[in-house]
């Protein structure tokens, strides 16, 4: 790998100064290699800068509002227990307003990217048996001084070959996040819920959490990442998650983005899958002023399969962008992808789903769909399926649609006495519920249905009685 050590950033560059400010607050136990990695990542960022419209992958998503404002990195220790203007009152952390009713889980809470759960909090889950003994769940910051080789190489890889500018920034500025390693043959009985609260600082701050999930052979785990805006206007969250699934492992990953309507959110999920592993991802985006989610999956072992499900909800002037890329590298690999979007007001959605079936990936199957519902004349969607097939014995399909509420269905509902706005809501919810219905965790499904004002909850409760 070409490791260029010369930084094109001027020594006076504000990003370098910001890095120095961050590092002055980090523990002295941070190893020298990590400090070097941060500078290399910043150099990579400096080479490219923020993406512009000329960049095909960012053609529809203008990040100049992020690029033009000063970057102020959220520092550790300025959490709910800290003093000053920053943070959230401890009471709100205790109350846990983000929790899904009835969801039994292992919870780690972060404020502006830094973990506020203590080792005692985590030990509680080990003591109860919710976390098996040989499984490691820890704040990333606690893992860095003596990083396992896999984690170290992952961090170095993201810094030296960042897939985009935001990944480079994350590699440069990340100081915390979550580390989960599940050994061979171990299954977690309850999901791990990583809660990222975006809190007001003494001005908008940027947080860069990094999540590393490693599942050994035949290991199983479910991980929920929730990104919640708490009165935090104009914060930036730039998160990177990596999932490495060894042979026969199974990971269900849920990402719920409910940032403050005036904030910015850029997230990346990078997945590598070995033989016969199964990964399911749900990406729900219903917050932020501007959000971008990138998912890159590499099916690197025969029989590996992935399912990507997504739902984005736009209102007001929200911009919500999903870019996914699935690489089928070996035979008998399967992927399916189903994204739906509901766009109201003057919101704009972007969906770009790339599937690459490489020459060696014979007998593979890839299916993709993206369906969009426009509720207003001013809402917009750009949907682009991109299938690149370099093998001849494969089954691939894709379908995209953009539509409005069915006037016949609306008339049918209204003719039964249902008020027109309610009828529109019922039909919109039905569109959304199709995605929610695929969520295997009932508490999460009901919680999201409630958050999205969906009919699912009442319909499900009614069904339970019949």
């Amino acid at each position: 790998m070409n490791v260029q050590l010369i930084s094109p950033l001027e020594p006076s560059d504000p990003f370098l100064a910001e890095l120095a400010r961050l590092e002055s607050r980090l523990p002295a136990t941070e190893p020298p290699w990590l400090r070097a990695v941060r500078r290399r990542a910043l150099a990579r960022f400096g080479e490219r800068g923020f993406p512009g419209r000329r960049d095909e992958d960012w053609k529809y998503t203008d990040v100049s509002t992020i690029a033009e404002r000063p970057l102020r990195v959220a520092l550790p220790g300025v959490g709910p227990l800290g003093t000053g203007a920053a943070g959230i009152e401890a009471g709100r952390i205790e109350a846990g307003e983000w929790r899904y009713a009835g969801l039994e889980c292992v919870e780690l809470v972060f404020v502006n990217g830094h973990c506020v759960s203590t080792s005692a909090d985590i030990n509680y889950f080990y003591d109860r048996g919710a976390l098996p003994e040989r499984t490691t769940l820890a704040p990333l910051a606690a893992m860095l001084s003596n990083a396992p080789p896999m984690l170290r190489s992952s961090i170095q890889r993201m810094a030296d070959a960042p897939p985009d500018a935001f990944a480079a920034l994350n590699a440069a500025f990340t100081a915390d996040g979550a580390y989960l390693a599940v050994p061979d043959g171990v299954a977690l009985d309850v999901p791990v819920h990583l809660v990222f609260l975006s809190a007001p600082g003494d001005g908008p701050v940027a947080s860069f959490p990094r999540i590393y999930i490693h599942l050994g052979k035949e290991a199983r785990a479910s991980v929920i990442e929730s990104y919640i805006g708490m009165d935090a206007q104009e914060n930036l969250t730039c998160a990177v998650t990596e999932i490495i699934a060894a042979a026969g492992a199974r990971c269900d990953h849920y990402r719920v983005q409910r940032e403050h309507p005036r904030s910015y959110h850029v997230g990346r999920l990078s997945v590598s899958q070995a033989r016969d592993s199964e990964v399911t991802s749900f990406s729900i985006a219903c917050g932020a002023r501007l959000s971008r989610q990138d998912i890159a999956v590499r099916l690197e072992g025969e029989g590996a399969s992935v399912a990507l499900h997504g739902l984005y909800v736009g209102e007001g002037r929200r911009h919500v962008d999903h870019h996914t890329r699935i690489d089928h590298l070996l035979p008998h690999t399967n992927s399916e992808e189903h994204y739906k979007g509901v766009l109201d007001g003057r919101s704009r959605g972007v969906f770009n789903g790339t599937v690459v079936v490489h020459p060696d990936a014979q007998k593979s199957e890839a299916h993709q769909s993206n369906h969009n519902l426009l509720l207003s004349g001013e809402a917009e969607i750009d949907t682009k399926p991109e299938l690149q097939i370099h093998a001849d014995d494969v089954i691939c399909s894709h379908g995209a649609s953009v539509g409005r509420l069915d006037p016949d269905a609306l008339f049918y509902l209204c003719s039964r006495g249902i008020e027109a706005p309610v009828a529109r809501a019922i039909l919109t919810q039905a569109f959304i519920d199709e995605v929610l219905a695929r969520l295997p965790i009932a508490a999460l499904r009901l919680g999201l249905a409630r958050d999205l004002g969906s009919a699912e909850t009442s319909a499900e409760l009614l069904s339970a009685l019949i």
């Binding site: 008339f411 039964r416 249902i418 008020e419 009828a423 019922i426 039905a430 519920d433 019949i466």
Partner: protein
């Protein structure tokens, strides 16, 4: 109850109804018969408030109120119900949830307390028996994957739950085999209580053997060309529509 006077309706500028007069009293059953494209379904849709129809003359009152000025849901609240010729499948909308929303919207309008889930289920389970539908239907999406017969019975079932004052059946008999037709007719007959009125739109006489009308009107070329008692339906069955077209000419 329902008074249609000199109603003229166009679709995309084309005249479809050319002056309809119809009076339906409380508890009466009126059959509207006629050949294809005579305007029968247009009349049914205009009464229920479907968009896309331009009323160019005349009007409709329901208990003295201008029906055409009301939205479809307002008409439903007043007690107008349309059993669709082609009930719309609505994927993802649970039948029970939909019907509970509809029933409670009507109750709210009438100032009645909304039914909770248990009260609602007790009510609908009774009504399902009326049309011999299985409770499993409640869990399914509205009309999705329903057979033709199930769709029509579902319409009558909804009518039974919503208890309209005026029910308009738009070719509810079309596409039904004789057994399904009898089930639908039985359901309708059990809703006849001397107060509730019906407008039965049909092409064929056979439904009227089971749902016996007080009056029969023949619609042809956008006009009612003949009205009479139930024997008119039998004459039509025996002689076909050409007979009235000639008679009207």
């Amino acid at each position: 109850m329902l008074a249609v006077h000199d109603l003229e309706v166009r679709i995309a500028g084309k005249p479809i109804l050319k002056g309809i007069d119809l009076e339906v009293g409380s508890g009466e059953v009126h059959a509207i018969m006629g050949p294809n494209a005579s305007g029968k379904s247009t009349l049914a849709h205009v009464l229920a408030g479907r968009e896309g129809y331009e009323v160019t003359a005349g009007g409709v009152t329901f208990d003295g109120e201008d029906l055409l000025a009301l939205s479809p849901e307002e008409r439903a609240h007043r007690g107008v119900f349309l059993a669709f010729q082609y009930p719309v499948a609505i994927p993802g909308v649970n039948n029970a949830y939909f019907l509970k929303a509809a029933l409670n919207a009507g109750r709210k309008y009438r100032g009645l307390a909304e039914l909770d889930a248990i009260e609602f289920l007790n009510l609908v389970k009774e009504k399902l028996k009326l049309v011999h539908l299985d409770e499993a239907l409640l869990k399914r999406a509205v009309n999705e994957g329903f057979s033709g017969g199930e769709k029509k019975r579902n319409e009558v079932f909804q009518m039974a739950v919503l208890e309209p004052r005026l029910a308009i059946l738009d070719e509810t008999d079309s596409g039904l085999d004789i057994d399904a037709l009898k089930l639908v007719a039985e359901g309708v007959n059990r809703l006849r209580d001397g107060q509730r009125s019906f407008v039965v739109v049909t092409h064929y006489q056979r439904l009227l053997s089971y749902v016996v009308p007080d009056r029969v009107h023949v619609l042809s070329g956008g006009r009612i060309v003949r009205s009479g008692g139930r024997e008119l339906a039998l004459d039509l069955d025996a002689h076909g529509y050409d007979w009235v077209k000639v008679a009207a000419a």
